[in-house]
């Protein structure tokens, strides 16, 4: 095979692009600019950590099933771990997004970082909603019957039926978490590729 042929292979081109956009020292840096030493920058990683606990506790709930999480002591504990990590996840995510909003952190070619954040936020809300509907208790029954008229009035009910337990559970444990994990991955990779946005005053020198 000639070297031009090798250069045209998609594997070669993809490798060059990835190595160019995300060299190892950008992917896993050892230092950060001085302005990152503020509590406001901690909330992205707090969100990420809470998300990890959400996913892991969700795996355990999926492994054992509703009879276990409604009845046994450890089941209640893991169920609570799942709920409270979700609470911390949203709490931290909202502070993270307020911080990024007031920093206008979409500056300098970072618009897709912001946009993946927005979409992750919306996907997370849908994930939490389908989770509430999948509890298999009176609470989930109440929530789904309250929600159905609102959702059906938008027309979405024809393919997203909140009274269809099997469908809601699948959205909650397959489709939406997958979307959230992929989007979060892209979000963090984009932050790494671009580096943390400089504060307003330092914009000129740093770009």
């Amino acid at each position: 095979m000639s070297s031009t042929e090798i250069d045209r292979q998609w594997t070669t081109r993809l490798r060059h692009r990835v190595a160019h956009r995300l060299p190892p020292e950008k992917m896993l840096p050892d230092t950060q600019p001085a302005y990152v030493a503020s509590w406001i920058y901690v909330f992205g990683v707090t969100t990420l950590s809470a998300f990890a606990v959400v996913v892991l506790s969700g795996f355990i709930l999926a492994l054992k099933g509703p009879q276990w999480w409604h009845v046994s002591g450890i089941g209640h504990f893991v169920n609570s771990l799942h709920l409270w990590s979700v609470e911390i996840f949203f709490f931290a995510m909202v502070i993270h997004l307020w911080g990024k909003y007031f920093m206008a952190a979409w500056r300098g070619g970072r618009s897709l970082t912001w946009v993946t954040g927005v979409v992750t936020f919306l996907v997370s809300i849908a994930t939490a909603f389908t989770g509430y509907v999948s509890q298999t208790n009176f609470d989930s029954q109440w929530i789904s019957t309250q929600a159905k008229d609102g959702i059906n009035s938008t027309g979405a009910g024809s393919f997203f039926n909140v009274l269809n337990f099997g469908q809601m559970l699948m959205w909650h444990i397959v489709l939406l978490p997958l979307a959230a994990v992929v989007l979060t991955g892209l979000h963090v990779l984009m932050v790494r590729a671009k580096g943390v946005v400089p504060p307003f005053e330092e914009k000129e020198e740093a770009r």
């Binding site: 001085a34 302005y35 503020s38 509590w39 901690v42 709490f91 502070i95 307020w98």
Partner: protein, 59 residues
Amino acid sequence: MAESLLAALVSLNGPGHYFHWHWIDISYANLTVIALMVVTFVAALFVPFPGRRHKKETK
């Protein structure tokens, strides 16, 4: 015993409590969470970060 130790700060038996002002209608639980987020946000801006050098040097 463990249950009474871990009991909620507010009694959760019975219907929820709501803050109602003109068209604004929100549970005190949600309102509390929003207030805590605002407080945490402001604290994140002003509480000094450990290990950060003097302001003059970094600014």
